[in-house]
Symmetry: C2
């Protein structure tokens, strides 16, 4: 098998060594996709920890030093940092290198990184649809991408061989690969990811502000539903700030639809319209069944938190 | 130990044999809290299945037949059915019997069941804060209540010995027991349970209605956040219709606060107020930490759906 078919790159530079950078490094090592992984993180503490955990082979004190001579550079930091990072690495990118990222928005990445991509460099923005609520170098693990989707949003004129190789790379990391227009990616993610996180942050904030129900009551009785939202609402705040700032139009569009539907639901409750309530609560069941059938969630009750429950 | 201390009842009648009725029966048997469990469910299929699974000792074709001669009667059906059931069992309740329920609202239960409680019968409404998204007789398991809270909302003048015995019963089923005013219970549950479920049903409905993003895209990329909501949104629709209809004021109050906060969040996104976004996303993290410390959720990333992830 050729390096293109294998998705093998000689030297891989990971810019950012948190949950996704770390997991990607572990997945690369598991599949033998690089000869050397060099890492950069802003804080010395993170770089040292990544070396100690052994998921990178060497660390650099600047993004440019890490990117110099690399065959694949992947930005794994919050998307608000991409413009500056792209400007910093532009001078050192070698001919034929592939530059990608893992950001949760793609239109803003094309806008911020695109202008710094020299001729002869392959720019293939990407987004692995995987994560946990944890962050930092200790949160990563090789299996994070297994069975999940990775969406690539190649720009017009992208070299086909570079795209094939990078797709093979993600497949070897455990992902299934799709390609999509950046604008459509941002619309899809606004509903499947950005809106859910915003709603979760919002309800946890609302509960935290109540004066009629104590915080201790919210905590004690959280197993009745609330606790599920606190997982998404404990995701990395910088990452989510940057997503909101960089996918404004699509997020506002989905928020508008959500609040419109919520107003209708609120009206059904106020006027005691049991049929309307039943119809909404009944038709949503089917969606979960399809997600489980597609292998994108566990069929175990309570996400498997009750090991004794039958499936 | 006396029967009061043990929480032991001779004959227990369970009216309703779904997730909660079934789990309660298994928990009763695990702890040896009854000499005989008699069950009633509207459908013959459910009664036969409960007998086959063995979590009840005998089945009756009417609620009154099940309640006749029982020492403890627990209503385990959707709360909208309680008034009719209470009227049906009133004539057969024996002196000294305890009548309770497992409904997610309590003020409406006092209103609907209270008038049918004869003198000398102990009426102790209850709500075990436990469940899964599944329903029906096959969904139950003995461990459902372990470590969770059960809230009792005794009416004024409740017999203290009856209350102590029933509290001991729930503790023997694995729960921790709290007592509360019915009105306050309904306010607390509106924020920790009813609002989360409504929000989940609503977002799944919104996603299902989109014409710019296909259903197949929503399913495929659901691991980015959306799938979490589909669990709550696949709960029993009849049960949730009845909760909305019977806790209207508290639910509308919490919905009002939620939408007000969401409007502020929407405005922060529109105007690019990164600091406001960061502040909200940062302060909500702490709530999850407290829930995990209180033993009300798993500390494992992704609710433990990634067994390879470190804690």
């Amino acid at each position: 098998m050729s390096d293109v078919e294998k998705g093998h790159y000689g030297r891989v530079a990971l810019i950012g060594l948190g949950l996704i950078g770390g997991s990607l490094a572990y997945a690369i090592k598991r599949a033998g996709l690089a000869d050397h992984i060099v890492g950069y993180a802003r804080s010395k503490e993170t770089r040292d920890r990544a070396l100690e955990l052994g998921f990178i082979d060497s660390a650099c004190e600047s993004a440019a030093d890490a990117a110099r001579g690399a065959d694949l550079v992947v930005l794994c930091t919050p998307v608000g940092t991409y413009g500056d990072l792209a400007a910093a690495i532009e001078p050192v990118l070698k001919k034929g290198v592939t530059v990608s990222d893992v950001g949760s928005v793609k239109n803003a990445v094309v806008r911020d990184v695109g202008p710094f991509i020299p001729d002869g460099v392959h720019f293939i923005p990407g987004h692995p649809i995987a994560g946990t609520e944890q962050s930092g170098p200790d949160a990563g693990f090789a299996e994070l991408f297994d069975g999940r989707w990775c969406i690539l949003t190649p720009v017009p004129g992208t070299n086909q061989e570079a795209l094939e190789k990078f797709s093979a790379f993600w497949r070897a990391c455990g992902s299934q690969v799709d390609t999509m227009e950046p604008k459509h990616h941002d619309l899809v993610l606004a509903i499947v990811s950005h809106l859910p996180h915003l709603i979760a942050y919002n309800i946890v904030g609302t509960a935290d502000d109540l004066e009629t129900v104590t915080k201790s009551e919210v905590i004690k009785y959280s197993a009745s539903g609330f606790r599920d939202f606190t997982r998404l609402a404990s995701s990395d705040p910088t990452m989510w700030r940057d997503i909101c700032l960089n996918n404004k139009d699509a997020v506002l569009e989905m928020l508008g639809r959500f609040t419109e539907d919520l107003a209708a639901l609120q009206r059904s409750i106020r006027w005691g319209d049991g049929d309307a309530l039943y119809n909404l609560f009944d038709r949503t069941r089917n969606v979960r069944r399809l997600i489980i059938e597609a292998g994108q969630d566990s069929a175990a009750p309570n996400f498997g938190r009750n090991p004794a429950a039958k499936k």
